[in-house]
Amino acid sequence: MSIKADHINYLYGEGTAFEQYALKDVSFEIEDGQFIGLIGHTGSGKSTLIQHLNGLMRASSGKIYYNGEDIDQEGYDRKALRSRVGLVFQYPEHQLFEVDVFSDVCFGPKNQGLSQEEIQQRAKEALMQVGLKEQFWGQSPFELSGGQKRRVAIAGVLAMRPEVLILDEPTAGLDPRGRDEILDEISKLHTEKKMTIVLVSHSMEDIARYADRILVMSHGEKVFDAPPKEVFRHYKELEQIGLAAPQITYVVQRLREQGISLDGDITTVKEATTAILGLLGKAGSRV
């Protein structure tokens, strides 16, 4: 089971003077159960890329395989694909439309043509997964707070029981706590439900904390594809394409340049604290 992108090209304004590559010869394979961080500055092609993965956009050339099947072949059920590869857009709360939270979450499973019982079962489960208390289920989604709306919208995709969940900047505009809560729930879906996750984010700190593999896009091309520690080692190249490594990476690199023997792969506060205290012989004193 996997998603495979095979030499994907996507051209905007094909055949006109404005012709431009949005994706250029992108190939990769996402194995089951991975947590992928997808990064790149605005306009790097990452949003275009994720829309190819669930068949919302069609590549100009190249192929996408889901579980070995070419999703562009004649007769392939793209609608079914979309429920298996769930895509949560940026500011997903902008897609809410029903009179109450519960009915809105039911929209996805209803489109899947399931029985009434099954639809409700899935909606309940999804709302529980995103941690939205039952007292809100009957309310109008438009009366909820920003963070709660966001959860309802994510539940709306989860209710289709996707095997892969792609989220485009799910924490944009949320405050720090709201951000952590959403990310923790996504992480839980990964560890507990074994869901494959693709997380698009601008925050290197978040990516470093959750992802076990990073894809870096720049100008429509895939420039890195490796575990976080390996990618962040190239922090200088990342800067050249308008990105940056987590702050901690810089602290560690600076200390290393001064001759301090720290592991260059440290990317989180926790790792750095442990390593530095270890050097100072204070390991275990508190951490």
Partner: protein
């Protein structure tokens, strides 16, 4: 989707581009009126010269001018055939029961010319005038209506805001549509009723978004001291230049010619 342009402004520098929008609005009006006055070959000849001159002066490629014709092709065919087949008079030939007369040929010909010139004539204006200039021109030209209680300033402000937000809302529609498709929505299949029903998940969020934007914008405008047209100055006030007066003179001569012919 993002490249959608309203109106069809063609950005080059020409005499016509530099004319005051009011002059162009008035000119278009004069031209349209003249087309309805014209009733002889000679008159159409003058109109043709006038139009060709305007097109040459605008520096806009002719192919852009005729694009607008596609939209009225159907209308054109219908009005031409009506005139062609239903005008009584001296028969020229007949196809089955349909009789074609001299009078019919003449009327149909004029009708076709009239419609084509009308579309090309207005295209000359929209291709050489930015939507903003157009709104400004309308506000100033219709300023006299203020005195009879028509909120001219407000209407032109609304037009200009609409121009700014239509591309944004078009893009947003595309986004919401995709988001709902990702939840299995189907906007294509089904009968008319089903299709109408399937629009709800698109229209409700779109309406809410437009409403939110309107509230935000109203607040932003207030914060920037907007309080209607009274006491407002203009960054780009419309001022007639010499070329505008010359153009008006041309209009007078043209109109006089058309009426005489």
């Amino acid at each position: 989707m993002r490249e959608i342009t309203l109106g069809q402004y063609y950005p080059v520098d020409s005499v016509l581009h530099r004319l005051d929008p009011r002059t162009k609005l008035f000119g278009t009006m004069v031209f349209i009126v003249s087309l309805f006055v014209a009733d002889s070959l000679a008159a159409y000849g003058v109109a043709t010269v006038f139009l060709v001159l305007a097109i040459r002066l605008s520096k806009v490629p002719f192919s852009f001018m005729v694009r607008g014709l596609k939209a009225i092709l159907f209308l054109l065919l219908i009005s031409v055939s009506f005139n062609l087949f239903l005008t009584p008079g001296t028969e020229v030939f007949r196809i089955g029961f349909l009789k074609v007369t001299w009078e019919g040929l003449r009327l149909a010909g004029f009708m076709a010319l009239r419609l084509i010139y009308l579309v090309i004539g207005s295209s000359v204006m929209t291709l050489t005038t930015t939507p903003n200039e157009l709104t400004d021109g309308l506000e100033r030209s219709l300023g006299f209506l203020k005195h009879v209680g028509v909120p001219v300033h407000e209407i032109s402000m609304m037009m200009s805001i609409a121009l700014r937000f239509i591309p944004i809302l078009v893009e947003e529609t595309d986004k919401i549509m995709k988001a709902q498709m990702a939840r299995g929505a189907d906007f294509e299949s089904g009968n008319l009723l089903q299709k109408a029903k399937s629009m709800v998940p698109l229209l409700v969020p779109l309406f809410i978004s437009a409403f939110r934007r309107a509230t935000d914008l109203a607040m932003a405008m207030e914060a920037r001291c907007y309080h209607g047209g009274a006491g407002r100055t203009k960054m780009k006030p419309l001022r007639y230049a010499g070329r505008d007066y010359v153009t008006y003179l041309v209009y007078v001569l043209y109109l006089a010619g058309m009426i005489c012919l």
